[in-house]
Amino acid sequence: MHLPPALTTWFDAQGWTLHPHQLAMLDRAHDPATLLIAPTGGGKTLAGFLPSLTELAGGYQGLHTLYISPLKALTADIRRNLRRPVEGAGLPIRIEDRTGDTSYTQRRRQRADPPHILLTTPESLALLLTYPDAAKTFAGLQRVIIDEIHALAESKRGDQLMLQLARLETLSPNLRRIGLSATVEDPPALARFLSSKAQVLLADPGPDPDIQMLVPDVPPPWAGGGGKYAIPAILEQVKAHRITLIFHNTRAQAEIFFHNLWLANEDALPIGIHHGSLSREQRERVEAAMVAGQLRAVVCTGSLDLGLDWGDVDLVIQVGAPKNIKRLVQRIGRANHRYNAPSKALLVPANRFEVVECQAALEAVMAHTLDGEPRGTGPRDVLCQHILASACAGPFDGNALYAEVITAGPYATLTRRDFDACLDFVATGGYALRAYDRWQRLMIREGKWTLRDPRAAAVIRQNLGTIIDIETLKVALKGRGAPLGEIEESFAATLTPGDTFLMGGEVVRFSGLRDLTVEVTRDPGRAPKVAVFNGTKFATSTELSDRILRILQQPNWPELPSHTAQWLTHQREVSRLPHPDRLLVESFPHDGREHLCIYGFAGRNAQQTLGLLVTKEMEALGLDPLGFVATDYATLIWGLEPLQDTALFNKARLQDGLETWLAGNAVMKRTFRNTATIAGLIERNNQGRRTTGRQATFSSDILYDTLRRFDPDHLLLAITREEALRGLVDFGRIEALLDRVGPRIDLLRLPKITPLAAPLMLEPGVVPIQGKGRERLASDAARQLLRDAGLA
């Protein structure tokens, strides 16, 4: 395939030369599926569109290409970027975007008269496919381009999208697929996700990044996050560069850091903050200021991981251990968004242990190893939603839908039996007691599955999507109403008037709740009570943990700052350093209590689960555990009696505990809520009325308990279990750990606390062992309140 002359002329006039991988996309234009892996700034989006522009140059009737991006903001950006060559070369191509922000009239028109190229998100596409006229809209579709496909593949959005592509291919059998990505740990696996016929095209990866650890004069603290100690050094770096992005792992940390940064910012350098909890207006202001070159630095979180071109960023600083190499590489790529120029990045460990993790991450980046868990099979709650959505579009045949679903990569191994269970759930609720024979949602009419009540389609459409937001409340200044951002509802519930927290870098005081809005006043004088809004807690990846363990086995550490090397040497003298093929367990008395430290290096979630399971066993052994704390590397348990042997580190025994513990755990309830929402049991929206999070949480817990009592084999409980095990519970990593170390478990009895265990004492997030304790806590508090009020 050759570029149309008008486009060649326009490229020449701009002085643009196409990269080899861009030309290769034209050569492969007729392949059924191509996964292009090219570095950030390598023009991969244009490469994806070249075949479409070429085919469309001679005129076309109807929708030709669908472009899907994980970010709404990206679609608008791509539309602007794409219109330049199209308009410059005078090509007869109409390009529009369609997202949740697109007006109702425009969306309606797009269905009747679609553009040649439609830019959208998986959620908007899901919605488009539920309309009865979808078959007409997509009949002539030739190509679909999926940008940042690795980001979509990481979540259920990817599973949903692949089901949609299967549908699109039914509607338009000639459809060709293009996947675009910059950071992929396993290209063949991602290609299989895209299509069974996909070929991989690897572009020149460009030069290695210039990446180092920032080592300030002061050593990092022993525990905690945030990187406050490094602020003076970071400000020096900001001064020495044009624009710096300062990434944090959580929104709360970004807020606190930003606050402290401004307290130290004596030169009043223009620095902004950007994260997902801030209001859209606020974020757009920062984005605009950045593009206009008015900012010298932006403190940010994952909200800036992907996509948009942010002007002249020439330095990326990652504060806190990156936890995941792929994300780090992606963030580094935000600097020097130009092809063939090395990106410059600095890592700032937030505590002593993270020095080692940052070193491990650095080495991984230089060695070009990326991490990532292999994808599981397609989740069944997403399939339930897909079945329900299919019914909205019109009557369907069960056999045909099954045949279509298994052409989607993630569902290739789905059995007919599992499919039928999902279909039954959607139709009747899938209850052991066949209660809804009369009121079932889907019923068979003339051999096809149909919505019993066609009016239900409107509500089903409103509840599509696989992204479960943590319920949040808007924060606004009292009396003025302009929103500052959002906080988690559960955090809002802990606030009492007068409490202060950080929002957009300023300290605000809670004055009350009005119409689901948190009203605050500015209160610059006070020390804030920390905001715990939804910063995702990432667990350190397996690849990174392995590298850390290997570093710990070195005879010495010339590459590490001396404070950290000395700390590790000291640990080796008084105890041992954790070994990749062994499990180190230290037992020592400290501060009048017995302590047990388990260096599993299994990531935060698995270490937390390990803490719960081990303390449960210890309770049974009469060792009276009192509490524990878990990090990505270790679990520290304290109690009254020391552990005598390692018999409890037994897979079967821990698994047993898991069965009983898991069922009643809050992690399960939260997982159930997400599953039940995606599968359509709980409605997020009903005719425009959003059920408030508190109500939803309340009822989903009760639904969970009811199902567990009366219908323990229900499909949703099976899905919930499966999800929890690979998600928040992460028992898989505990199993992998126990399999790896086998009998090589070293229980060391030591006279006092060890250098490696000491920082854990300072970790926040202590889990008290529950029992009668919680009831006592509540009743003590009740008594105190009555006394204070003079009522008792």
Binding site: G429, Y436, R452, A456, V459, Q695, E775, S779, A781, L791
Partner: protein, 213 residues
């Protein structure tokens, strides 16, 4: 453990289940059972919730009747999620309810969900007065009154639960049914109904009293 308190001439017990027991009258009071809620949602084309809530509620009621040995029962309204639900109760649930009602003096107070006669036995009334106390669905200014309707809920550290609201003049009962949301006792409507020194008594494993405000 129940919570014991006086209202006018009566000595009453708030039970951890959310029922109220008046021992002198051998009288058990429950409110807002909302039988058939999942069925009504399904009928209206909504989500198909687990259809077990009627059974869960009956199980709880059965236990309270056995423990207290009450001879007399008052259901304070919204016993059925709507009148159709009352008519279409599943057969085994309906038999179970009949068994509980047998030999007991049983009164259904009308609620906003189930106004009008329902097709189950027992006495159907808008208001009932017993030995100095008044029973109705929605609170009125009348003193010594027991009502339901609002599904009040309150918080303590570690627990958010349906609660009784009580002061010298009235008791507002928690919802007894399984699928019933709740209204925080901070709500202005509830605040306006209750006196300044009102108590919230949380249901759960034991009854816990705290000041309402």
């Amino acid at each position: 453990m129940p919570y014991l308190f006086p209202l006018g001439p009566a000595q009453l017990q708030a039970l951890p289940s959310g029922a109220l027991f008046w021992a002198d009258q051998s009288l058990l009071v429950v409110s807002d059972l909302h039988f058939g809620k999942s069925d009504r949602l399904a009928r209206r084309g909504g989500a198909l919730l687990p259809p077990y809530e009627t059974r869960a509620t009956l199980m709880k009621l059965d236990r309270d009747l056995t423990t207290t040995g009450a001879r007399r029962v008052i259901c304070l309204g919204d016993s059925f999620d709507d009148l159709t639900a009352a008519g279409e109760m599943a057969e085994d649930d309906s038999l179970w309810l009949t068994r509980l009602m047998a030999g007991r003096d049983w009164t259904w107070i009308e609620g906003n969900h189930d106004a009008g006669p329902v097709s189950v036995g027992g006495t159907h009334l808008a208001v009932l007065r017993v030995a100095g106390l008044t029973f109705r669905h929605i609170a009125s200014p009348e003193p010594h009154e027991i009502s339901g309707h609002y599904h009040p809920k309150a918080r303590l550290p570690g627990r958010t639960a349906p609660c009784f609201l009580m002061d010298a003049a009235r008791v507002i009962m928690p919802a007894y049914g399984a699928y019933t949301g709740g209204l925080s006792c901070d709500d202005p409507d509830l605040q306006a109904l209750m006196q300044p020194r009102a108590l919230a008594v949380l249901t759960g494993a034991t009854c816990l009293a705290r000041p309402m405000r």
